[in-house]
Structures are given as structure tokens and as C-alpha cells.
């Protein structure tokens, strides 16, 4: 696999998710303006913070006049699950120079991670493919970044003129299903999915998406605790 092939694999894998991310980005642009965030700042936030749900929250907190410390803490909680992605991809990126690590960490969103991880897990360590694997994550990361910037721009410029109730957001859960279901090939992995899904539903009302992080942790515990085979 050349680096061009790896890059285009990542880019192609994230494409279906852009369908779901685009309406989300448009709505963010609209919400930000309505909350009193100037258009330039709303756009800049998409590249400075670059995290969908955190940006929604931040725009609303700015509108409500929340103090900096509270807003920063809330954004940290909302994005806590990204630490899990960081741990998950860290071994694959270990050999890279620092500038690559910084770039890929900046691009490490839910969608970029989801698009790249099945391919990263398929790469054998120390194989020739492993040396190019980071290009997959770069492809999915930059694809999502570009889509998010365009969607935000459309939301800021055109705002409420765009239709936002087409149901396209559903592309996101559907793509996650397409990624996760084929990964479930053991009892332990099934247990991890079941526990994470159930806890996420039960704790969905917790503020700042804390329930999401607890649910992911519950899934990890369930997966590891599950005995390998029935004795």
C-alpha cells in the first residue's frame, strides 16, 4: 500500500459520514449566530476547537454568558472520549515524527477515528503497510475537516434558508453500525457493545455527555471481563 492509496482509503471511508455531518455543521452555524457569536468567530471556532458537539455547547454557553472556567470544563468533559481514541491509535503512530502526531491528534474526531480504525486494526505491526498506516487516518481526518468547514460556512452564510429536516443526520449512526457490526466476532466484543449501548441509553440525560464516556468505559470493562470461552 503506497501512501496515496492509504490516504484515498481513509478519504473514501469518511465520505458517507459527511452526509450526516453536513446538516450538523449547518445547524451549528445557525445556532452560533443566534447565540450572538459573530460570523468570523463562528467560522474560526470550527478550526480552532474542531469538535462538533463541543462547538454547539460552547456557542450556547457564550450566548448565556457563562464564565470561561465553566465553559472550558464543559468542553473538556464533552471531549473526554477522545482520550480513548488517542490511546487506541497511539501504538500505530508511535514511529512518527512529532509534527505528524500533532497533526493527526488535531484531526482525531469521532468520525475520522471511526472511518480509519477498522483499516488500522487490519494492518499487521511491523509489516510494510504499517509504515504508511497513518496516511489512512490523515485521509479520513482531512476529509472530515474540509467537510466540517464547508458545512459551517454554509450555515453561517445561508443559515436558515437551507433545509435541515431531511433526516440526513441518520447517515452517522448508520455508518457507525456498518463499522461496528462486522467487528463483533466474539462473545467478549458482543458484551462490550451491549454494555456500552445499554449504559449510554440509560445515562443519556447526564450533562456534558458524561454518560457517553461512562458507557464507553463500561463497554471496555465488559469486554475484558468476559471469559474467553465457556468452561
Amino acid at each position: 500500500m503506497t501512501h496515496t492509496q492509504a490516504f484515498s482509503l481513509g478519504l473514501r471511508s469518511v465520505m458517507p459520514m459527511l452526509l450526516g455531518v453536513a446538516p450538523f455543521g449547518v445547524i451549528y452555524g445557525v445556532v452560533a449566530l443566534q447565540s450572538g457569536v459573530p460570523a468570523l468567530a463562528a467560522m474560526a471556532m470550527s478550526s480552532i476547537v474542531f469538535a462538533g458537539s463541543a462547538q454547539f455547547l460552547l456557542a450556547q454557553l457564550v450566548g448565556a454568558g457563562a464564565p470561561l472556567l465553566l465553559a472550558a470544563g464543559a468542553v473538556g468533559l464533552v471531549n473526554l472520549r477522545h482520550a480513548l481514541y488517542s490511546a487506541s491509535v497511539a501504538p500505530v503512530l508511535a514511529h512518527l515524527p512529532r509534527r505528524w502526531k500533532i497533526l493527526l491528534a488535531y484531526l482525531l474526531t469521532d468520525e475520522a477515528y471511526a472511518a480509519a480504525i477498522p483499516h488500522l486494526m487490519a494492518v499487521q505491526p511491523n509489516s510494510p503497510h504499517a509504515a504508511q498506516a497513518h496516511w489512512i487516518l490523515f485521509g479520513s481526518g482531512i476529509g472530515l475537516w474540509a467537510g466540517w468547514q464547508l458545512a459551517t460556512l454554509a450555515g453561517v452564510l445561508l443559515g436558515a434558508q437551507l433545509p435541515s429536516n431531511l433526516g440526513l443526520e441518520f447517515a452517522l449512526p448508520l455508518t457507525f453500525i456498518a463499522i461496528v457490526v462486522p467487528m463483533i466476532d466474539s462473545r467478549a466484543r458482543f458484551a462490550a457493545a451491549l454494555a456500552a449501548g445499554a449504559v449510554a441509553v440509560v445515562l443519556a440525560a447526564m450533562p456534558y455527555k458524561v454518560g457517553l464516556f461512562i458507557a464507553a468505559m463500561a463497554g471496555l470493562v465488559a469486554g475484558v471481563a468476559m471469559p474467553r470461552r465457556i468452561k
Binding site: 472550558a72 468542553v75 508511535a94 502526531k101 449512526p173 448508520l174 456498518a178 463499522i179 457490526v181 469486554g223
Partner: protein, 103 residues
């Protein structure tokens, strides 16, 4: 002015979280259980993101026939399990959603 400081702070926090383990890799010796947990991260995190989207309607658990996203999601799960094809899964999921919304 305050707004820009707020954005820079939140950007730094977000980046710090995403960079944390990537930066630390190779500089510390993780305990054995840590490596065993990692393969479960994609399944646990992505299922946690997805399940509420299917099951909850305006914050309430809705398992009946009046929740088209649940049934469209189940169609997608079956298609994904049988054919392991991303575009087919998304296509069937959307078809099911639009069909159920019209009933």
C-alpha cells in the same frame, strides 16, 4: 476579545485530550490490562454514540412501532452483519427509515 480567549482555551483542551496518549506513547510502560482493553475501544465508543440515536426519542426510551429510527437501525444491523458492506448498510437503513416514516 473574551470570546477568542475562550475559543483558544477550549481548542487547547480539546487538542490536549486528543494528543494525550499519542504523545505519551513510548514514554511510559502501560500496565498489561491497558493493552488488553484497547481492542475494545472502537466497539465500546461507537456503540455508545449510536445506541441513544436509535432508542431515544426526545430523551425518552421508545421501543414501539412509533420509532422508525429504531427499526431502520435494526435493518442496518442485520444488513451489516450479513453483507459487511458500508454503502449497502447505509442505503438499506435510509430506505427503511423513509419507508417507515411514510406509514
Amino acid at each position: 476579545m473574551n470570546l477568542w480567549w475562550l475559543m483558544l482555551t477550549c481548542g487547547a483542551i480539546t487538542f490536549g485530550i486528543r494528543y494525550s496518549f499519542i504523545a505519551a506513547e513510548g514514554h511510559y510502560q502501560p500496565p498489561g490490562w491497558f493493552r488488553r482493553v484497547l481492542p475494545f475501544v472502537p466497539i465500546a465508543a461507537l456503540t455508545a454514540l449510536t445506541a441513544p440515536e436509535l432508542v431515544l426519542v426526545q430523551g425518552e426510551i421508545l421501543l414501539g412501532g412509533s420509532n422508525p429510527r429504531l427499526w431502520a437501525g435494526l435493518v442496518a444491523i442485520v444488513v451489516a452483519a450479513l453483507w459487511r458492506n458500508t454503502l449497502l448498510t447505509i442505503g438499506c437503513g435510509f430506505l427503511a427509515l423513509f419507508a417507515l416514516q411514510r406509514i
